[in-house]
């Protein structure tokens, strides 16, 4: 049976992981390559690299890092951040990314998703949506959650999938960083309208939050988190052992 995926997300700026982490057996806690290897060896099913670099120099460093990671880590690698054209797709795919996630780029340029899906296949195109409740509705936010686009999120995500996105990362700004659990209400609304994998992001604070997610929403395929993994609050091995006990399909 296909398993539920656990995905650590690494924010990378100027070639370094933002928010240094502290693990034993990890010499350089800010090295994306080292951290990626660590997670791969310790049960991560996939990795997300998010490029938060602003400068073009930093972008070059990022692709070098990506190459070095793909040389050493043999699990799927999704790359996001600053993807605004098919040229950006090409840039990261040629360095070993398997999937590319688009966010603000898809809001600004509605043809980006269909063009990329045609060139590289839907399996390669991930729509990553930052969503927040505004006056009782779900709105899509751009620029790392800073700008309210006013766009109704659920219909917009469905449209992205209809246009060729093969996977959805739903990041709830409302629950992000709160560590009280994933945004089940928002996730349910998305699962109801798409038939591609949905990855839950934002709000995980402990193992129970993942268990609650997968039990409540069979349509969710993966749970993504950053700081709770980086800071060692949740070890992926412990999380997966618990999923097994709870009869959630998992790769051990």
């Amino acid at each position: 049976m296909i398993t539920k995926r656990i995905i650590p997300c690494l924010d990378v700026r100027d070639g370094r992981v933002v928010k240094g982490v502290n693990f034993e057996n990890l010499n350089d806690v800010n090295s994306p390559v080292e951290l990626a290897k660590f997670y791969s060896d310790n049960g991560a099913d996939e990795l997300v690299f998010y490029d938060i670099t602003a400068s073009s120099d930093g972008r070059k460093i990022f692709t070098d890092i990506l190459r070095e990671t793909a040389r050493n880590v043999f699990i799927p690698l999704t790359v996001g951040g600053g993807i605004s054209s098919v040229k950006d797709f090409e840039r990261v795919l040629s360095c070993g990314a398997d999937k590319v996630s688009v966010n603000t780029g898809a809001i600004k340029n509605p043809s980006l998703i269909p063009e990329a899906a045609k060139l590289y296949g839907s399996q390669c195109v991930v729509i990553s949506a930052d969503v927040k409740r505004v006056g009782g509705a779900f709105h899509v936010f751009a620029r790392g959650g800073r700008d309210d686009t006013g766009i109704e999120a659920i219909g917009w995500i469905k449209n992205c999938v209809d246009n060729g996105a093969g996977e959805v990362v739903l990041n709830s700004i409302d629950t992000d960083g709160v560590k009280k659990g994933f945004d089940l209400e928002m996730l349910r609304a998305v699962c109801n309208v798409v038939n591609v994998p949905v990855i839950a992001s934002g709000g995980a604070g402990c193992i129970d939050d993942f268990i609650a997610l997968f039990k409540a929403l069979p349509g969710v395929d993966a749970g993504l988190a950053a700081s709770i993994f980086h800071f060692g609050e949740v070890a992926i091995r412990d999380l997966k052992a618990r999923m097994k006990v709870e009869n959630i399909p998992v790769r051990l």
Partner: protein
């Protein structure tokens, strides 16, 4: 030397890296001479069957590839590269493959229950197939590998070395003499995948 056939579909960086990681001399190539010099050949592929089949034929690599396989040289087809080994595919019409293994490639929606997501994306386990008693490249039952596919191969069970369950039994790995194929991505399947590539390097 292992030759990875570069006929213009998909990116081969990870695949090349995975062979490097297991200490193999590997070359991504579109030169027929490399196929002749290689000890083993890998046929990769992502995207659509028709486009890939056309590109393989127009690349001038299909004929030397078939010649080399005819001499008994081991071949490994991966994902769409595996699907190309079959007689034909019904992906958006009807298209001819290399016909190295009798069988066809069809939409998984024809056999899996409604409501399951297509493509199958993620880690699923391998069940050894009918001919697994022969030493193939899939050695162990129940190991997890990474799949991304909407189509699968349908063929006589004597060619099937492993299946995976996605609401129905789908072909995960095949073998016909020196010709091997895997539907999943060994280069993205962690140590399990690297071990499968190692096995291929030992056949």
């Amino acid at each position: 030397m292992i030759a990875i056939v570069d006929y213009g579909v998909g990116n081969l960086f990870s695949l090349e890296s995975s062979f490097n990681a297991i200490g193999q001399d590997v070359k991504v190539t579109s030169d027929p001479r490399d196929l002749r010099e290689a000890d083993r050949i890998v046929l990769p592929g992502v995207g659509a069957f028709e486009d890939a089949a056309k590109k393989l034929k127009s690349s001038g690599l299909a004929e030397p590839l078939l010649e080399e396989i005819g001499t008994g040289k081991p071949l490994l087809g991966i994902c769409l590269g595996m699907q190309l080994l079959f007689t034909k595919s019904y992906e958006f019409g009807e298209h001819e493959g290399l016909n190295l293994i009798p069988g066809s490639v069809r939409y998984i929606g024809e056999v899996i229950p409604a409501g399951l997501k297509i493509p199958q994306i993620g880690w699923n386990s391998l069940q050894l197939g009918a001919r697994s008693e022969e030493a193939g490249i899939i050695q162990r039952e129940g190991e997890y590998v990474y799949f991304v596919h909407s189509y699968a191969a349908f063929c006589d069970e004597r060619y099937i070395t492993a299946t995976t369950n996605y609401g129905a039994e789908l072909t995960a790995a095949v073998q016909n003499k020196n010709i091997y194929g895997v539907q999943f991505h060994p280069e993205k399947s962690g140590n399990v995948g690297l071990n499968i590539l190692r096995e291929f390097c030992n056949v």
